[in-house]
Symmetry: C2
């Protein structure tokens, strides 16, 4: 396989990102790849915010992975910032290639550089493969993740 | 009991907020109420960020509760923003008063006003009372929360 590049997402990457978000048992029900307008508006908002890092992984000129890292300042833990990982997706053709690990390693390194003391994420209880993956990377399943749809 | 006011936190509230963060089985090990400098620096960063809402609840001129709400834009779910609740604390003298419910209701209403489609939070697996509290308020424990200390 060719070399991998990890870089900030641009508007040109949005169709591929949305394709990956939708190509997922949970995502299929809640995305609209045929209308990219809301995604492009969201990208503008992310790009303007220095605490947001939406990145893509590129191999042989194709978008093969994505992840969003949010830096959250806060008072607790002596004024520590934390980092939150959301929207991790790896293209089906790249499963088992180590790309997921590369993406998470990028997120952890960036969190360190931004002086975060903690990296956190939540994963749907049904994604048991993902849970083993995060535990292998050193994450601890120490919390219950609660959600409320509005 | 007197009326309750919920408003953005200011530097004058920091000693009381840190006191509540430290007055907790988990928080006692990781806070430093004798040195407020890192907390005041963090407050400045929060105040400058329009996606951050650090609020306090005031009763009879005393800080009796606090919560941090972070608005996180994103591409997934058709460009939906989500809101993340962190650092919920209720003063020991207010336990059972309904203040926790008032704080979470404030967070949910603010999230709606900011056009979020989801409110989420994580709670340490040992805080079983908190889990019952969030379920009573309509939150679903649908996720596993992973953390990595840096």
């Amino acid at each position: 396989m060719g070399d991998l590049e990890i870089r900030p997402a641009t508007a040109e990457d949005v169709p591929a990102i949305v394709g990956m978000l939708a190509d997922d048992p949970l995502g299929a029900q809640r995305e609209s790849p045929d209308d990219l307008t809301p995604y492009l508006i969201a990208l503008d908002r992310l790009t303007a915010d220095p605490n947001q890092h939406l990145i893509v992984a590129i191999r042989e000129a194709r978008v093969v992975g994505t992840l969003q890292l949010t830096i959250v300042p806060g008072l607790s833990r002596r004024g520590a910032a934390r980092a939150i990982i959301e929207g991790v997706r790896v293209h089906t053709t790249e499963r088992g290639s180590g790309l997921g690990t590369r993406l998470i390693e990028w997120a952890v390194e960036t969190s360190r550089r931004e002086n975060c003391q903690l990296v956190q994420l939540t994963s749907d209880v049904t994604r048991t493969d993902a849970h083993r993956f995060y535990e292998r990377l050193g994450f601890t399943p120490s919390h219950v993740g609660f959600k409320l749809q509005l």
